[in-house]
């Protein structure tokens, strides 16, 4: 339960930080904690509760997909914004 609440606090703090931040490129950084930190922590909490089972495997698969695709999406979005701002 402690791990769950740590993950929830990280996700909520990152989401609020993204809203508060005015600069777009700084705001992009706030997406990463949700997928790379809060996701694995919440997944770990769920895995500990469920034990070794197919449920845990499916949860971990979802978390891994979330963790791998999150930074890719941030990079893709940043690249599009840079192209539109004619930075690259």
């Amino acid at each position: 339960m402690i791990l769950l609440w740590i993950g929830v606090v990280i996700a909520v703090a990152a989401a609020i930080g993204a809203v508060v931040t005015k600069d777009f490129y700084r705001r992009l950084h706030f997406l990463t904690p949700v997928t790379s930190l809060a996701g694995p922590v919440i997944g770990l909490a769920l895995a500990i509760v469920n034990g070794w089972s197919l449920t845990t495997l499916l949860i971990l698969l979802t978390i891994v997909i979330l963790g791998v695709t999150g930074p890719v999406l941030s990079a893709a979005t940043g690249r599009v914004a840079a192209q539109r701002d004619e930075l690259e």
Partner: protein, 84 residues
């Protein structure tokens, strides 16, 4: 209301609501950040809600959302790539 349900509720209020706010302001690329955040937090909310309700057969839903959220956002980045 058990702890998992409370955590899911906090995630919805503290995660989905800011994502909706982000998805409502700025130009198209700026709003895309809101979509990404909503997709990521949505997966986490679903995982916690499934644990709260004790229905592991629903786990396919967040798995598919994680995959489709990735593909969908990439389509948006592709379409927004060239300036109109």
């Amino acid at each position: 209301m058990n702890g998992w349900e409370v955590a899911a509720f906090v995630l919805v209020i503290g995660g989905i609501v800011p994502a909706l706010i982000l998805a409502c302001r700025g130009d198209a690329v700026h709003r895309l950040v809101g979509l990404e955040l909503a997709s990521s937090v949505g997966v986490l909310v679903m995982l916690v809600m499934i644990q709260a309700t004790g229905q592991p057969s629903y786990l396919i839903v967040p798995l598919v959302l994680a995959l489709l959220g990735f593909a969908g956002t990439l389509v948006f980045t592709r379409l927004l790539g060239s300036k109109p």
